[in-house]
Subunit: 375 residues, 2 copies
Amino acid sequence: MRETQLENTSPLRKKVIPTALRAAVSSGTALLGSCGESFRSNRFDANVRAVSGSTRSPTLADVAEAAGVSLSTASLSFSGNKPVSEATRARVLAAAARLGYAGPNPLARNLRQGRSGVVGIAVGPLSTAFRDPAALPMLDAVSEVLGAAGLGLLLMGDDHARLPLDAVIYDICGRETWAAYDDLAAREVPLVVVEGPDWPGTTFVDIDHRAGCAALAAHLHELGHRRVALLTLEPSHPQREREAGVRDVFPDAHVIGACASDLAAAQDLVAAYLATGPDVTAVVCQSDVQAAAVVIEARRLGLAVPDDLSVAGFDGVATPWLDVELTTVVQPLAAKGRAVADAVLRRIDGEDVDDVVLPVELRIGDSTGPAVEPA
Amino acid sequence: MRETQLENTSPLRKKVIPTALRAAVSSGTALLGSCGESFRSNRFDANVRAVSGSTRSPTLADVAEAAGVSLSTASLSFSGNKPVSEATRARVLAAAARLGYAGPNPLARNLRQGRSGVVGIAVGPLSTAFRDPAALPMLDAVSEVLGAAGLGLLLMGDDHARLPLDAVIYDICGRETWAAYDDLAAREVPLVVVEGPDWPGTTFVDIDHRAGCAALAAHLHELGHRRVALLTLEPSHPQREREAGVRDVFPDAHVIGACASDLAAAQDLVAAYLATGPDVTAVVCQSDVQAAAVVIEARRLGLAVPDDLSVAGFDGVATPWLDVELTTVVQPLAAKGRAVADAVLRRIDGEDVDDVVLPVELRIGDSTGPAVEPA
DNA sequence: TTGTAAGCGTTATCAC
DNA sequence: GTGATAACGCTTACAA
């Protein structure tokens, strides 16, 4: 564990210190040009403020006074919430520029409006959550829709209950109790739950796990498979639904064990299982990552996929490092994300929002084939 | 693009509507028990409030009055910022419980204290940023340190300049201008830049790219390699430093092209290059993901690694789906994250913070071997 | 240990 | 189109 902190070795990189103000004042104009367009004006503003000697940042009241207008007019000049004559507006903005006023203080606006503009998202430990490739397209869609509405996405740990959140998204598949829930419920913070537990007062967004898995199982049955094994997730709503879907077709499916959608973990589990020489012709997994682990470990043991063993996944994510195309249940990740974000926006607006269940689709790849009885 | 919104098919999942209050009031006690410990008391509080008929949420002033203490005493009872006798404190908390008061309003606290408790982190498009396995351990460390300090991490898009952020982390390797910079500078929001451009007023956290790549190149040179190719990133500070490190040893290294740490993209680029039958004995990459792409494509063309071609990466992340251990430059991802978070905390406290450059370490795996001249 | 009072910097509601 | 004024709900000197 080498954490030594070296001297800065790059001669090109000059050490610049705390505030933009100090940097701008102390370094002269030589530093200009390395950043965005309007940096020049910022520097100017900072200099003006430094010169004018005022210690605290200017407020809207200062701007109003400097522009010779009322506080409300100044406010409206920035917010545009009511018409202001172009002349006065220009006067206000000029005064703001002169004073180095950077716009209305978001903290004050938030208090006044009762909203923070921030939506929390609980995803569990980041490296676990985002290692799962299925998480990202959904998060992207959420972030895009909320961002367009001016809302920020805050990654919630367990210690963020005291932050001002306009809504919270719960997306920790597999965890069914949550300490922060009580706090949020008490605050009446809208909560949108993705494939999660059935908490009161929340909006759910889900996919049709059971139908998807049943369709997948039917596909295997048609191929002649009769004895299948199941790689599962930790007990949870999706897991229960999915297992039920498989058992609609294969009531006696054998459970190998449970693990997360983590390649290494799944590999360990699968390697141990395959080493027992199990009497199955197909393995159904709960994610494409798990399925990839089965493919890799099966081959390592000399089993051909799908000739000796059929393998199916779930999610429908890309696995370019695998040279078979997985048979899988494709879930509409982006649509799920958009549905979540829409639900959030509407709940923030005080609307009633119905639960959502999105359909899934079976995609047949090269990893499943006709069942072959062991010789 | 099937986004049909199905009827909710699960009979177990009951539709529950907007606020926790409404749910609690309308559903009776039957819903109890599906969530955390103190849910019972929340329900109780909500009921009390509903019964008492007050339309707006109780404030600290209401609690103070109900408890028969002053506003400041009530505040202190929650914050613990100054001693309060155990008796009065109990009285205040009891009154709070009775009124269904969920604790001090964070929005008001934030305005008063001038801090939001939120740190922005700019990482670019989420699915790009987090698809890179090197991003996660760092983000995890940042999140852990900041979380322990009660700070939340907000994923910044380009439209979040209006949110109240106590500090911002810029971690978009490769993008050298940023529209939001000017706004942040004007607001004097502390900015910590990871491996990024040299903006005034910011604190930098970096690794010793050049030394790492020079060590790697020296290793290849010792193995007899003389003609090497370079897979690069888009032009950026890290890329320039790393290339310089390689050229310290191989001044004439050939550049294949630039791409992100994205397996599929790298595969395309590399496949085209290898198809030209290039005259090199080793390929140096800027990430382990890129290196994995080279290994995969080389094999696809019948080249053995490292016998016919040596391949080196950067980052030192796990690639369990690859069956060689990559020779790579290991960067201290968690330490980098901690350094970033520490810098953020200290800048928020108003401290001057020096730039940080962390050392890297060469790890020799199975993907590099002695140079073999083409027959 | 407790109470009094002064903001924090906005936006929204009214009048004009 | 503009201006006065009242919140928003809290924390923190300062005084008792």
